[in-house]
Symmetry: none
Subunit: 221 residues, 4 copies
């Protein structure tokens, strides 16, 4: 079950930024927040600097230019996320547990760092670099990991064999993504039981239940 694969993090952000933190990470975190809010193109370097509380010239001590900030975010953060995901996929747990773990990982990541996800999902996709195979592959790995779980489930006889695992993995990831995006944008609400932002068991269990058992009423005989 989803122990607590939340090392996704990276920033002990919590209200005001008082303590430790090297400038480089400070800039990255600020950039994530700013890119999420106004998009990569809409964000000015000076916005990032103001968010970080530094002079904008300093940004150029740590990064060659604005694009390098975006690329660094992708490389450093997405990789960590993928590894957590693949750790789950590679495990020996039953399929259902894996799906629950992934749903928890995704929903919690989104919930803890919504800007993080907005940047990864909305901005990096369209950065010119995204055309590069490297990034394509990185995103492909996300779907691939989930598809592998499903395929393993089919082979073990736990899942129906007549559904395309690729399609199902896309549906699963997409469902999770939209559930949170709706929240991020304030358009929708999730039935969050616990508000101890650490877990979101209500939604996690519900979405896995939905994917495993379907919507259709079963005439309980």
């Amino acid at each position: 079950m989803p122990a607590a694969n939340l090392k996704v993090a990276g920033a002990p952000r919590s209200g005001a930024d008082p303590p430790r933190k090297d400038k480089r990470s400070l800039i990255l975190d600020s950039a994530i927040r700013v890119f999420a809010q106004m998009g990569y193109h809409g964000a000015r370097v000076s916005d990032i600097a103001r968010e970080a509380g530094i002079a904008y010239g300093l940004v150029y001590h740590y990064f060659k230019n604005k694009e390098e900030i975006l690329n660094t975010i992708f490389e450093e953060r997405w990789t960590g996320f993928l590894e957590a995901l693949e750790g789950i996929a590679e495990g020996r747990n039953p399929t259902q547990d894996k799906l629950v773990s992934i749903a928890a990982l995704v929903l919690n990541a989104y919930r803890l760092r919504p800007e993080w996800v907005k940047v990864l999902v909305l901005e990096i996709q369209r950065s010119s670099r995204f055309a590069e195979p490297e990034q394509m592959r990185a995103v492909g790995r996300l779907f691939g990991s989930v598809a592998r779980i499903l395929r393993a489930g089919q082979e073990a006889g736990a899942l129906r064999a007549d559904l395309d695992p690729e399609l199902a993995s896309q549906a699963f990831i997409g469902a999770l993504e939209t559930m949170i995006t709706g929240q991020v944008l304030g358009v929708t609400r999730l039935p969050a039981e616990a508000d101890d932002a650490a877990t979101d068991r209500g939604a996690v269990d519900a979405v896995v239940d939905l994917f495993l058992n379907g919507l259709k009423a079963r005439t309980t005989r």
Copy 2:
């Protein structure tokens, strides 16, 4: 079944476009394509004009400024999409047929006009105006329509009553969205049976099957 859910369109696109077409629509269509390719911020007014084959000064005869183009796209195109969707939701068909119609509407819309969707989904969200309640409501209607279908299905006893219809509608829309986004970005493939881009029954049926019956293997007695 989905009679002709294609009034989504807006442009009688058909190979080369030398024919009739008022400049205003021409500009809107060009803008959609350009915004989709490089994002709202990344697109220059001159890019739109070049795509439309007109002088960039002319754009300002038809639109006050660049932002008005984006807003117009949203208002004119999204509204048409929503009305088609609500027409399906309001119908008297069985739940399953409605879901199939919606899946077909969404998947085909994406398939026929991927730029269209990229702009609505990726750009308009981010435009500052999106904070405005009007736009929020417009997006909310999308989820609301689907949720209403599900709720009706629950009330009719066709669907399980223990799943939150809001959550399920988000999952369903999200699944559809990601299935296509993956294609748009070239990251994933859908099991398209027919290639007569008009329908995509393989994926449409599969995703509805998935949501209705779930992934889990049923011990067929």
Copy 3:
């Protein structure tokens, strides 16, 4: 004798700029003046625009960037100068007349457009592009033309055969250059007889006399 090979010009500049003139040439002329005054690196694009009396954004309608302005100056102006020079060198006049013509060409060019020369001599040399063989060759042609005149004079028996024509051409060009540079900088004065800036016979004849006959007193027998 040097009729008036002054087609070096290019700009009917004369006090205030009232009349005709396409913007592109206006910008080039302004750039020459500004580069001459503060050097290529020291000149801001806005200085050029102010000098031309236009908005600086317009500069970028006509030139890709600042460097292209410098390169264009070189290509368009230096070429014209070289052709005039080579026309003289290729002629059938006696050596002395050719040297007089060249001295007049150079001294008058310098005199009429001192900025012109400062830019060619001081700025273009150090532009990165100067490393390119094309520019090297262009400068080499200057020395080559004069050396050819001298060599022809030697073959005709008019000039001493024991002096290296390359060295002498460098000395001759250098003398002319410095004579004017001194004036431009206001450090020295030339014995300009006529002030009808069209000719400068005093200095022209004097420098040719110097190079042909030398400084040494001849014991007139």
Copy 4:
């Protein structure tokens, strides 16, 4: 004859420079090299520091700012050069010897420290401070010294009296300058006999011969 016209120096350059040398001079020497290569405006303070192998902050312990470096170079180095020159001019040697000494001084200075000369000639001219009378006078002294030699020669009857000594001094200096500039830029070659970079008697003698005896063939009776 040119005893030892090498006190022009300033830096005991000798292969690798690990040895003694106060930082201040180290910075000046590095600045000369860097200014010569990329121009005053094109050179960054950090370039100078890197060339000197020190942190760029240290530059500001020794100089108020970048401009002061340039001014210091001028004042310290140009003065030394002028004094050497005036020592020659004030001497009691025959005119020809003085011209040979000066040609050797200049050609060797250029040859030994081409950057030195490029900076003096190309950069300092342009620095805004050059408008200041002090610098103007300093350059004027160069021409004045040579003119004085020539005038003395005329008075002694060794040189023709009908040539303006000012003009001739400019021509002489200019010839020397261009002979070397061509070499520095790699555009031209001098007929260097000896390659022991200490002297360049071929070119030195040739240019003095040219200026004293002229180019014209003399019908040796």
